[in-house]
């Protein structure tokens, strides 16, 4: 995987649409497609749908590269958001069967990389740690709802079916989970100042 600075440079070269934009976009694809394809597959669960998501996602990245904010700290997160959004649209229009895997807490450490990246600012590195710690402090059902929504792209009603709970209950878990996570992280930020 390339560094954030590399990815940012490739995105800006793609956006410039000058000579060499195609080479920059190809290098961007080579560097990021495996991770983005992995994210798409986790949400849509079917390989052929994930291929569509990846194709549409990169088509949008090519078209929207000019709107990429050069000040953004995580260029990969910008691309991942485009792919995630496309995957969420697609699962809304397809009957994608959802199965398996209750998210145990240790799955959080398998799926995500909480260690600060080498080029992260001190703040970003600490924030990543805070988020992980605060997730650990949530009630288990709140944490599970948040992880399934983020990682599997589950909607409120998907969560209700998957967790065999009334819709209102899972909505509350999501809302409270987010609010608790937010205040926990903000507390960390405030004490660190």
């Amino acid at each position: 995987m390339r560094s954030d600075a590399d990815i940012k440079r490739l995105l800006l070269a793609t956006a410039a649409r000058g000579e060499g934009a195609a080479e920059a976009f190809e290098a961007l694809y080579k560097a990021c497609a495996p991770l983005l394809f992995g994210i798409a597959q986790r949400i849509v669960r079917r390989r052929e749908l994930a291929e569509e998501v990846l194709h549409d996602g990169f088509t949008r990245i090519w078209a929207a590269a000019g709107r990429f904010d050069p000040l953004a700290e995580q260029p990969l997160a910008w691309m991942a958001a485009i792919v995630r959004n496309r995957a969420l649209d697609l699962v809304a229009s397809h009957d994608v069967s959802r199965v398996d895997s209750i998210s145990e807490e240790d799955e959080l450490d398998r799926l995500f990389d909480w260690a600060p990246a080498a080029e992260d600012s001190v703040d970003a590195g600490r924030a990543s740690r805070w988020l992980r710690d605060c997730l650990g402090e949530l009630r288990p059902q709140e944490r599970q709802a948040l992880v399934l929504a983020y990682d599997r792209g589950m909607s409120h009603s998907d969560l209700a079916v998957h967790l065999a709970q009334p819709l209102g209950t899972v909505k509350t878990w999501v809302r409270r989970g987010l609010a608790n996570l937010r205040s926990c992280v903000e507390e960390c930020m405030d004490t660190a100042r």
């Binding site: 649409r17 060499g20 976009f25 694809y29 994210i39 991942a80 799926l111 995500f112 999501v174 903000e186």
Partner: protein
């Protein structure tokens, strides 16, 4: 910068990032993102916290995926021609320097207009972007643009050439272009305004040109006439 903490806005940002904001609510939020800088700033604040996926979930996409993208996006237009690729050029650099020494005194600039045209402005962009030379025909009816290297608009974009009058006032659109190597007929009224002190500028617009009649996208080249 610390923005006012609005719990309702934060809750929306959270559900948006999580992916549970769906359908019309999601589209409304995305519209607010485009229109309200405060909403965008607050989302960026939370986005910076989003966890990074570990490389464990990487899955190689099928080999056919890239050629399909390349074909559908028409990327071949944006490839560097073989004779300008740096690695090849480097091998030739010494020979080329010698050739250039011999060529001093001859016209070696790539910006050559046809003989009946005279250059009125050089447009330049940020960094080492191409330069554009604008030249006017002797009868002042035709404007010719020549780029130091090809500058082509993307599939959903056009370039728009603007005249910014010397006396000030709104930019006047001269042409909507797909490439900055072009020749265009000038309406007489516009030709009269191509005077010293006026400026030519090129902005990036949606395909077909600015929807509003004024530049909406970033200005990528600009140059003063007679400078």
């Amino acid at each position: 910068m610390k923005l006012a903490r609005d719990p309702r806005l934060d809750a929306l940002c959270g559900e948006y990032l999580l992916g549970t904001l769906r359908g019309r609510a999601r589209r409304r939020f995305e519209r607010a993102l485009r229109e309200e800088p405060l909403v965008a700033a607050r989302l960026r604040h939370w986005e910076a916290l989003a966890p990074r996926y570990s490389s464990m979930i990487e899955t190689p996409p099928p080999a056919s995926a890239w050629p399909r993208l390349e074909r559908e996006l028409g990327l071949s237009r944006y490839r560097t021609p073989w004779h300008r690729r740096v690695s090849i050029w480097r091998g030739w650099a010494i020979a080329a320097t010698a050739a250039a020494l011999l060529a001093i005194g001859l016209q070696i600039l790539p910006l050559q207009h046809t003989s009946s045209f005279s250059e009125i402005a050089q447009l330049s962009g940020a960094g080492d972007a191409a330069r554009i030379s604008a030249a006017l025909s002797a009868d002042r009816r035709t404007l010719e643009l020549r780029a130091t290297r090809p500058v082509l608009a993307g599939p959903s974009q056009s370039y728009e050439l603007w005249l910014i009058p010397a006396e000030g006032g709104a930019p006047v659109s001269l042409a909507v272009l797909g490439s900055l190597d072009a020749r265009l007929a000038l309406p007489q009224a516009q030709a009269a305004r191509l005077t010293r002190g006026a400026k030519l500028a090129v902005s990036v617009e949606p395909a077909g040109g600015s929807p509003t009649g004024a530049p909406t996208g970033p200005v990528v080249f600009v140059g003063a006439i007679g400078a």
